[in-house]
Symmetry: C2
Subunit: 295 residues, 2 copies
């Protein structure tokens, strides 16, 4: 059996195939393995350091935080940049700016027609009404679009991840009406940070980074013959608005907040008292032959 | 807030420090993040592919298999190659060839003087006696060396990982006698493979690789003023001897098996009948100023 040099070992590892495999995964894996070898050699990584890395990866996975770390390294924002560049290259009209999905989306939220209340009444906070119209890049309203919306509870956690919240609290799907209009009532969400004592925070600490995200509301908006839009809107005034852990905030996604105190408005929007109001419309790209259905 | 190009995003991610951090971790992380960005750009990695990767990493960590995958990518063998090269560069006498620790070591195994029985009698198989002398690169026997030995049970699993095995079955520490001699009785271990349906096997399947390791016995040998030696010996005749999943087998570590049938030998080694015998000595490097205590 051979005694390998570093280069020989790498070549052997990256050709030790005994059965058919997936050629794309092979190519990506071979590149990443070569990259890792170079890191180990260039930095003279020690046995203890390599095992610290394995232990951390095991803890990261056990905490289900690979996607959280990925967002924190900007990988999701990177995909959005590449999708924007592809639009520009193809001279496709852009829709509402993309923003990252993040690791906290849950499909199959309860579906309502035209409007919904997102919170289940178990928490108190600043009442919020948000409404707007879903249009497309051709200027037409999009009826029967599905506005899938999710945001944090008052403690900064999400249902399905924060055990203090009931299933689907602050998560709904809303079908737009014939004019493309949606509306929801909820509580204005706070900013929040990576869980303390988590593997993600452990990495951030050793890098000297913070894990804070400014307050935001997530959207995934889909409609027949349109490209699904994944985005977020940001609440102005948050100290981390320009310093997001996930590098995901964008100017055009910062909404205006209006404080509504007029009893007529309170009655019109079926609130109990003063509330915060956001008007925000979304623009979807139309599916054409050059564009995948989901991007 | 800025709209980033790919290069601008990478630069921002790799400089977004708000407090002191560990400079070495930062440097390694910055390199790896840049490598990952290049992979995503060069391969035009899709949203679905990135999320498959996150999901797989979460499953890998939950299964505590980061170290197993690392061994399968040759990362542990790579460290051994680098340690061998450092010996050569420093013109240090090599000891017994290094071989990988693997992810299945458990410290604090029961300690015996001079000899031990590794198996607890709950399984049957080919009886094994292995003995030899621990010497150092100056030719001296090493008394009171600790021979920490661990190997698989008859089903191919290890205690603490395979729930069918009691704690510390097939794991012992043996203190060498005044002549540096150790001896143990056990059962000849079989080869084995990566757990089926595991995240590691899932990666191997998509790469088109097998996950088999040839039969082997692990050792970690330590003694005062000597460099701790981590190695394995391999059982000859295994079909994977030259095709190890972990790229860890080495010619000088393949032992000779002797079948002992003479009643005198059976009595001498306190066996009940014919058994397999291995004689194998280990050579430790002496600690000098240029060599860390553990390498």
């Amino acid at each position: 059996m051979p005694e390998y040099s570093v280069a020989q070992l790498l070549e052997h590892v990256n050709s030790s195939y005994s059965k058919p495999g997936n050629e794309r995964v092979r190519q990506i894996a071979e590149r990443m393995i070569a990259d890792i070898y170079r890191v180990i050699v260039d930095f003279n990584v020690s046995h203890a350091e390599l095992w610290s890395c394995f232990t951390w990866l095991n803890e990261l996975g056990t905490a289900k935080q690979a996607g959280l770390v990925g967002a924190g390294l900007g990988l999701e924002r990177l995909l959005d940049i590449l999708a924007d560049e592809a639009d520009q290259h193809a001279q496709r009209a852009p829709g509402t700016p993309r923003a990252i999905e993040g690791p906290l989306y849950i499909p199959h939220a309860p579906l309502s027609k035209h409007e919904a209340r997102l919170d289940d009444g178990s928490e108190t906070g600043e009442p919020l009404v948000m409404e707007g119209t879903v249009r497309n890049t051709q200027g037409h309203a999009v009826p029967q679009a599905i506005v899938d919306v999710w945001h944090a509870g008052q403690g900064g956690g999400y249902s399905f991840f924060d055990p203090s919240l009931q299933a689907f609290n602050y998560r709904r799907r809303i079908e737009t009406d014939e004019q493309g209009h949606y509306l929801f009532r909820s509580l204005l969400p706070p900013g929040y940070g990576v869980p303390p004592d988590s593997p993600t925070q452990q990495l951030l600490d050793v890098l000297g980074r913070h894990g804070s995200r400014p307050a935001h509301i997530h959207f995934m908006i889909s409609a027949k013959n349109h490209v699904t839009l994944t985005t977020q809107v940001n609440i102005p005034g948050d100290p981390y608005l320009n310093d997001d852990f996930a590098f995901a905030t964008r100017d055009a996604l910062v909404v205006d907040l209006q404080k509504m105190t007029d009893p007529k408005q309170i009655a019109q929007y079926r609130q109990q008292g003063p509330f915060t109001y956001i008007a925000f419309g979304f623009t979807l790209q139309v599916v054409d032959e050059g564009l995948p259905k989901n991007s």
